[in-house]
Symmetry: C2
Subunit: 363 residues, 2 copies
Amino acid sequence: MATQQSTSPRTRRGSRTDKPTIADVAALAGVSVSAVSKVVNNRPGISPPTRQRVWDAAEKLRWSPSATAVALRGARTRAIGMVAGRSADVLAADPHFSVLISGIEAELAPADYGLLLHIVGEEPGAEERAYRRLAEERRVDGVILTESRIGDSRFELLRQLRLPAVLVGTPWREDPIVSVRAGGEQDAGIREAVHHLAELGHRHIAYVSGPEDRVHTVFRRRVFEAALGERGLRPTRIVISEFTADAAVKAVRRLLAEPDRRPTAVLFANDTMAVAGMSAARRLGFDVPRDLSVIGYDDLPVGELVYPRLTTIGQDLVQLGRAAATAMFGLLDSGRSEPVEPTAVRPPGLLVRESTGPAARGA
Amino acid sequence: MATQQSTSPRTRRGSRTDKPTIADVAALAGVSVSAVSKVVNNRPGISPPTRQRVWDAAEKLRWSPSATAVALRGARTRAIGMVAGRSADVLAADPHFSVLISGIEAELAPADYGLLLHIVGEEPGAEERAYRRLAEERRVDGVILTESRIGDSRFELLRQLRLPAVLVGTPWREDPIVSVRAGGEQDAGIREAVHHLAELGHRHIAYVSGPEDRVHTVFRRRVFEAALGERGLRPTRIVISEFTADAAVKAVRRLLAEPDRRPTAVLFANDTMAVAGMSAARRLGFDVPRDLSVIGYDDLPVGELVYPRLTTIGQDLVQLGRAAATAMFGLLDSGRSEPVEPTAVRPPGLLVRESTGPAARGA
C-alpha cells in the first residue's frame, strides 16, 4: 500500500492545481455549471452563442469535459464502433457503406462522438475478436451493425459482452436486437419497380441479386417473384451473384447472350451493379433504355452522375444511418434495450429517371 | 483514504482471481509468454497457425491483451484518428475519402487497430476542438490528416498536443509534418494528360479546378498551364470551382455555351466531377469523346463503371492510405518525428481509357 498512499494523494493534489474545473469554465463563460454540463453533453436548452462561448472558455482553459469524465468508472468513450467483416476495400468498392456512415456521422458529430471503424477482413473469428476488444477495452459506448445475416451470431455475442448494439436492417426471425429499417412495407420498392416495368410493357424481366446469406437478399427476391406473379409473369432469369461491378458485368453478358431468353429489363441488387451492368450492355451494342431497361437499388450518388440517369429504388441510407445513431443514443441515455422511440425512415420507393423505358418492339 | 484502503485491495484481489494472465494464455496455447506478446503486438516471427492458436486461447480464457495494457499509463489505444472539417456527407459525396480510408484500414486491420473518424462539419474551431479531445482523452495513438491547406494551422496544434501526425499530401512550404505523397515529380500526371490531348490534336483545352485554398489545387493548375506552355498553348478556360458534381455540371454548361470559345477537351480536378461533366455534355448533345474529350483525376472505381470509361490521372489512393498508416506505425514504434523509412507510392500517371479521342474536325 505504501506506493498507493504516497502516489494517489499527489496525483489528486496535482490534478487539482494543474487541471481547470468545470466551475472555472462556467465562470469564464459567465454561465452556470449546469449550463456548461448541458453544452458538453449536448443537451437542449442552450442558445448557439452560449454554446460557442462555453466551448471557447473550455478551449482557453484547456479544459476537456471528458478528460475528467473518463477518470470515472464507466464513463462514456464518446465513440461508437462499427465492425465490418469485409475486405479493407469495402468502402471503396461499396459506396453503400460510405453513405450509411455519412448518416451516422451526421448525428455523432454534433454530440462530439466519433465512429470507430474496424474493417477486419473476412477470416473467421476476426469480427468476434474485434467486438471482444472493443467491449473489454471500453473503446466504444456501443456498436452499430449492418448486413443482417441468416442465423446471425453477432447479437448473442454482443449481449454477452454487454455492448449496446443497433442493427441497420431487418433481423432474421426474432433476433434479439434493436434495429432500424425503412418504414412501410418491407421492400415495397421492388414491387413498385416490377409494376413500373410491367406498365412499360416489359414481359421479360431478370433479377441480378446478391449473395443469399444476407437476409435482405432473400426477402427481395421473394418480393420480386411475388410482384411478377401479381402481373401473371415469371422471372425470365434470376442470377444469384455478388455485390460487385464485375459480377454484374458477367451477369449481363450471360443475360444478353441468348436471343430467345433475352430480358428487356433487369433489376440489380445495388446501384454499383446497375451502373456497371448498364455500361456492359451499351458496350455490347444495346442502348439503355431503348433495348434494355435497368433499375438499381439504394439511390447512391453515382446514379445521378451517369447518363442516362439511373432509375433506382431509393432507400434513404443517410436517414437510416442517422436513425441508427439516434437509436444508439436512446439506448445509452435510457440504459434500456429498446430504442426510446420508433425511428421513422421513409420507405424505399422507386425513383424513375432515365434508364427505364418502353419494352423494345417484338420483345 | 478509508474508502481507498477498503476498495482498492478488493479490486486488486478481484482482478487477480477473475482475470486470466498472459501466462495462462501462453500455457493453454502451448507457447512462450514472449510468443503471446509477439502475437498480440503483431510482431513478426510467429507462424499463422500459432498466431491462431494464441488468439483461440485468448478467446477461450476471455483474455484481452490491452485490457491490462490500457491500465498502464501511456498504453496504446489501438486507434488512429482522422478528423475531417467537412460536412457529414463528405464520404457519400467524395469517394476520394472512402478509397483513402480503405488503404488506411488495410494496414490498421492486421494490427488490430481501428480508425476513429470525426467528421466535425465546417464551423470554425470544430476541427481544433476535436483534435484537443482526442489528445486530452487519449482516444488515439496518432492522427492522419488529409487535404493539406495553405498556411495550415493543424500541424502546430498537433505538435502542441504531442499527437503524432501524418499528412497525406504535399505540405505547404516547410510545414513541420511527416507526409506521404506519390513518388516522382509532383503532378506529372497532369503534364502527361496535356501532352496526350495535344497529341490527339486538341488546341482548346479547359481546366475545371477545385477551391484554391487547397495546396494541390494551386500546384496542379500551375502544372497544367506550364504543360500547355510547352506545347505553345494557353488554357482556353480555367474554371475555379468546387469538388462537387453540381459545380462540374455548371462549369460544363458554361464551357459549352459559347461556340467561339468552346473547348474540345476538359480536365477535371476529380473523377466525380469528370463523370458528372461527361454526362452533362452528352445531355447537351455533345458526344464523348467525339465532340469533347474528358479527363478526370484520382482513378476512383466510378471511372471504370461508366460508359465511355473515364480517362483519368491515376493516383494510387489505396497505396497512399497504406503508406500513411505505415508511416504512423513507424512514428509510434520509433517515437521519432520522421517516418522510419521513406514511403514509395507510384507517381500519378495518365490512364488512357475511352473518354479521350482525336479533336473534333475544324476545332
